[in-house]
Symmetry: C2
Subunit: 274 residues, 2 copies
């Protein structure tokens, strides 16, 4: 197996709605990526390029948002956006809303980030400590005048970004869109995959044999999430480095876009923790 | 920030109780590790070297193990070992026991693996698909005559391994002991940290400022878990490669052993999902 190598690209400029994110990434890359490479992209720049930003001035909180905002000490307008992004609120406690988004992701505040003039330095701030535990300094307090939401369909975002990279360079590296999620029983956040294209999201060894010919009865690796977590280690949290180039994962990369990160979402019927 | 690089060491020989795991690792490394490097070690070889293996012939299942084994289709002797390793059984369904171990880890079958003659090829098999969902081919069916349990104190295991590496080479790389855990709301497993020494397990940016001088209100990175997940990407699942060498993480590595992976365990009082 070849060595696995990860490095953060140079900072991107401030990303605005309608920007050609692929072109910005290529400029930061200093050259064309290879087909066998992967670009891990923090979702915040994807959301910004897609205009997935909500100005709080235009948000009129409903009764539930006002009630939850009061109980949690959160700006009711931010809570209204969180509710709009959520299929279900699983928990509301300690200043945190743990939500299942319309995509099926379970995360704090439905992935809604306070906006800021720095596109990605604060990626994951404002809600991730949050998940399943929460810290008082958490999030969504409305000090900023807009919030960033998750891309509507992050797998489609990844496919579009990959297609545009192919259009501009002829090469089609795999694309992974990431966010930082808290975890149920463990402190801290890890980046996970919320969208991908050209990447096998799960490596299924169930039923296959190991090196000694013995059947591996249940090994099912969340490859896309492991790559997301790895990519986050390659960037400094205090710099604008939303994009990480990953090499050495050819065995998980394909010409076809594949099922995307949607394949990582456990269906509600299989959730043992409801 | 420097590039992050990971590579699996050559396969280790079969590890037996009392083996000098540090010496086996150094032989596979072809040289001495550096102080700024990290060795990620799949727990199975640590457990084997420490004799954390239970022969099922000597296990006499109690009434609860017999009842659960019958309900789940599991060998009651394996269930007895799982119960012995558990502080609490959170769920028992779909052939899976989701347990909180005495260490505080929440995982399928309390981290008990079916043993086999291959030390690590099947690491994570038998229970990880398991967590919070479970596959019918899961685990603990007693076809093997012994099971491997988690090290009693994986942080102490990491410290001992690090001390022995220092003794043999003069260098003290960070040591990370990993296992594959399932996740509550996502398919597949990712490797996580169950023990570490010389590594900052959590990087706390809460309250610190970002590149633009704006306060990051809640970013708390589970560094040790991200490294564990990354390391698993560097090895092929069908080979005996329990040890991965990681370079480029100097900023998280210290001379002092530090708090260990115990710092990643969310206290019961903060668990929102009980």
């Amino acid at each position: 197996l070849s060595e696995l190598r990860l490095r953060a690209l140079r900072p991107l400029p401030e990303v605005r709605p309608g920007d050609d994110l692929a072109a910005l990434i290529l400029a930061a890359l200093d050259g064309a990526p290879g087909d066998g490479q992967l670009l891990a992209v923090a979702h915040k720049v994807v959301s910004k390029a897609e205009g997935a930003v909500v100005a709080l001035a235009g948000v009129h909180p409903g009764a539930r948002a006002i009630e939850l905002g009061g109980a949690l000490g959160k700006d009711p307008r931010v809570v209204e956006v969180v509710l709009d992004q959520s299929a279900e609120v699983l928990r509301a406690a300690n200043g945190v809303l743990i939500c299942r988004t319309h995509h099926g992701f379970v995360c704090a505040n439905a992935g809604v980030d306070a906006s800021n003039s720095v596109p990605d330095a604060a990626a994951g701030a404002n809600r991730d400590t949050a998940a399943a535990g929460g810290a008082p300094e958490d999030s969504g307090d409305g000090r900023d005048d807009s919030v960033i939401v998750l891309p509507r369909d992050p797998d489609a975002s990844a496919r579009r970004l990959r297609a545009r990279l192919r259009e501009l360079t002829g090469a089609a590296p795999a694309v992974l869109v990431t966010d930082s999620f808290g975890r149920a029983w463990r402190h801290g956040q890890c980046d996970v995959a919320i969208g991908c294209a050209g990447l096998l999201p799960l490596d299924d060894w169930r039923g296959r044999a190991d090196a000694a010919g013995r059947e591996l009865r249940a090994t099912w690796l969340a490859v896309a999430d492991a790559i997301a977590a790895a990519a986050d280690l390659a960037r400094a949290k205090d710099s604008r480095e939303p994009v990480v180039l990953v090499e050495g994962l050819q065995r998980f990369i394909a010409a076809a876009d594949g099922p995307g990160a949607a394949a990582l979402v456990r269906p509600l019927a299989e959730d043992l923790f409801r």
